[in-house]
Amino acid sequence: MKKRVLAAALCAVMVLGVVGCSSSTTTEETTEAATETATEAATEVVEEATEAAGSASDLTIGISIDQLFDSRVATVMGLEDGLEAAGVTDIIELVADGDAQTQNDQVNQLINQGVDGLLICPVDLNTIETALIAADAAGIPVVLYDRDAPDSENVITAVSCGAYDDGYQGGEYIANVLAEMDLDSYVIADLKGPDSDDVGVQRSAGFNAAITEILGDKATVLTVETGAWDTATATANFQSTLQANPEICAVFCGTDSFIPGVETVLTDAGRMISVGEEGHVVITGINGSLEGYEAVVNGIADGTVVMDCPNTGIIAAEALLGYLVDGTTPERTIIVPSVFYTGDDIEANADSIWGVMDLSLSYQ
């Protein structure tokens, strides 16, 4: 009996240890120690730099992140930069790992912790609504970043890159290149994001609008489902589509992450011909990640729509702080424009492409 009780006690101690150790390696102590020195030196500068800093520094801001991947990290770093520039040091970040229910619980937890404002990138545009209602009931303003919940009346603004315009730019480029070929018909593959993600839907809609506008009835767009932005699914489905439709002459990738898979499939099919050469399949992406940049530089893809992720984060943070500190109500939707780069100008603009910047992927 004593042994069993001892075993139970040991396990309890282990639990205490596990939880205790994790806390010591993560947030408060480390952050406090690191920020103490930095803050002391920077405090004077920040106070002089922004009038808002005095009151903003008292604020606690909660950031709810849907999922971590390269572009999201870039946006979240922009959020942090925007908040820290205004003197906010008390930032609580929670990552939902792509689970809508987890995100709702986490947002409720942030509300419970008494945050003054919330920056949320929703996993699901409908499921987030109950959490937004709870925030509204608690009097906590919410700014959505990267992804909007268009039907919600419980957010002060949504700051994003303009998915429709991004898709339109990619489609416009493809359509113009194909139009120059002057063929009777064009078959184009659209590797689109999931229907549950407004970004995926809008990018595809923008792309299709440009194709229809420029190529009209000559173009046939084949939609390739990619699951939840899953590169493996995208690759497999594109392979099947190409086998069934070998006349495909252009591919619109809903995100740069799909480009390597498209390259693999085209190589397997003997269709991978570099940009500018006879028989090249036109490829465009959206994002501005390193893999998209390299694909364009190496002549695999024709171009990519580079989103301004860091600036999106900064603008979202400023919108929230403006509302909290000055009472400024921004527009319901704020679009941060993206830029389409081709092989002609992408290297010259590498400094402005977030995927090429030295982003420290410190998020876990």
């Binding site: 009996m1 069993r4 009780v5 075993a7 139970a8 396990c11 309890a12 101690v13 282990m14 639990v15 205490l16 596990v18 939880v19 205790g20 994790s22 806390s23 390696t25 993560t26 947030t27 609580i92 970040e93 929670l94 990552v95 939902a96 790992d97 792509g98 689970d99 809508a100 229910q101 987890t102 709702n104 619980d105 986490q106 409720n108 937890q109 509300i111 419970n112 912790q113 699901d124 545009l125 409908n126 499921t127 609504e129 109950t130 209602i133 709870a134 009931a137 999931p194 229907d195 549950s196 939840a228 998020y363 876990q364």
Partner: protein
């Protein structure tokens, strides 16, 4: 437990507290977690934290009860979470079509339950009567339910009726009403399981199928009924997701299955069948809910959360296997 010699007899004096912790080792972990989080995070020990945990896990509790019934037979049901999702989606689609109103919600509930029963019955017939492997059968139904839910909605969550959304914000004495309803379901199932002939037959079947057969129990019927009942409860859990999330979420089944099975096992229900209870499952769900709430309150990065949750599962399962099993064998 203390052995006392009195003349020729050896009487065993039981320490009720020690016996309780040996029977329910997960409770010791829960206490350790609550103490740890309370010390480490001032944000943890608040009414709000527990309200969030109760509301967020109300439907998972019912789904875990469903899984408990099947695991008690020595089987497993991988379709619980996706049947839950499909039930929620179909109920929401109907309620959206029929419009607001009590009648619409009642029919929505019946649809959710019916979907659950259909899938449960399907599992039950194939496993119980046709003797197919539960893992394979329920993997098939899991995929069917998931596929139908996603196909009907294109993976987009279907908004639930406003009345149900706001019911999710209803509290009685500070406790989320939806959680109270879940606990009522738990109590009904616990009493029924303990008091009914069916419950006793299920335990005997899980412990030893041959013995159960020789005792005159219709084993095929008992096994099939466990899956059917699990289906019914999955449908009910689906209806509860609408209250908690405000939507019929087609993808909710993707991520919740392991949580559901984890809660059942952590609570101390044996994967081999024949041992366990819905009360233990309540403890398992509570453990996972408090763990997540505490880690969120401390803003622990989610990758670290995964590691901690994995360690806790090791510890909890190790305790339930070793401490409880040794205790059982000592009694025998």
């Amino acid at each position: 437990m203390v052995k006392v010699k009195t003349n020729n007899k050896v009487t065993v004096k039981k320490n009720p507290v020690a016996e309780f912790f040996i029977s329910y080792p997960a409770v010791a972990i829960i206490i350790a977690l609550v103490v740890s989080f309370s010390v480490l995070s001032p944000a943890f020990l608040t009414v709000g934290t527990f309200q969030i945990a109760m509301k967020g896990n109300a439907y998972l509790l019912i789904a875990a009860i469903a899984e408990t019934l099947v695991i008690m037979t020595g089987g497993i049901d991988l379709s619980v979470s996706t049947v839950m999702a499909l039930s929620a989606v179909l109920a929401c689609l109907y309620m959206d079509f029929a419009g607001a109103g009590v009648a619409s919600i009642v029919v929505g509930l019946l649809i959710a339950l019916a979907i659950g029963v259909v899938f449960g019955l399907f599992n039950g017939v194939f496993v119980g009567y046709l003797g197919m492997q539960p893992f394979i059968v329920t993997m098939g139904t899991r995929l069917i339910a998931l596929g139908v839910a996603k196909a009907l909605t294109k993976s987009v969550a279907v908004p639930g009726p406003t009345a149900m959304v706001y019911f999710g914000f209803d509290y009685k004495a500070g406790i989320p009403t939806v959680f109270i309803l879940s606990v009522i379901v738990l109590l009904v199932m616990a009493v029924w399981f303990k008091q009914s002939k069916w419950g006793r037959e299920l335990i005997l079947f899980g412990a030893n199928k041959e013995s159960a057969r020789y005792c005159g129990i219709h084993v095929k019927k008992v096994e099939a009924s466990a899956y059917t009942m699990a289906g019914l409860l999955s449908g009910l859990a689906g209806f509860f997701t609408i209250i908690v999330l405000g939507v019929g979420q087609p993808t909710i089944g993707d991520s919740n299955l392991l949580t559901i099975i984890g809660a059942v096992v952590l609570g101390g229900t044996s994967m081999d069948g024949g041992e366990g209870s819905v009360a233990r499952t309540f403890i398992g769900i509570s453990l996972l809910a408090l763990l997540t709430a505490g880690l969120n309150a401390m803003a622990i990065p989610y990758t670290t959360q995964m590691v901690i949750e994995g360690l806790i599962i090791f510890i909890g399962y190790g305790l339930s296997v070793n401490v409880t099993a040794k205790s059982s064998s000592a009694v025998k």
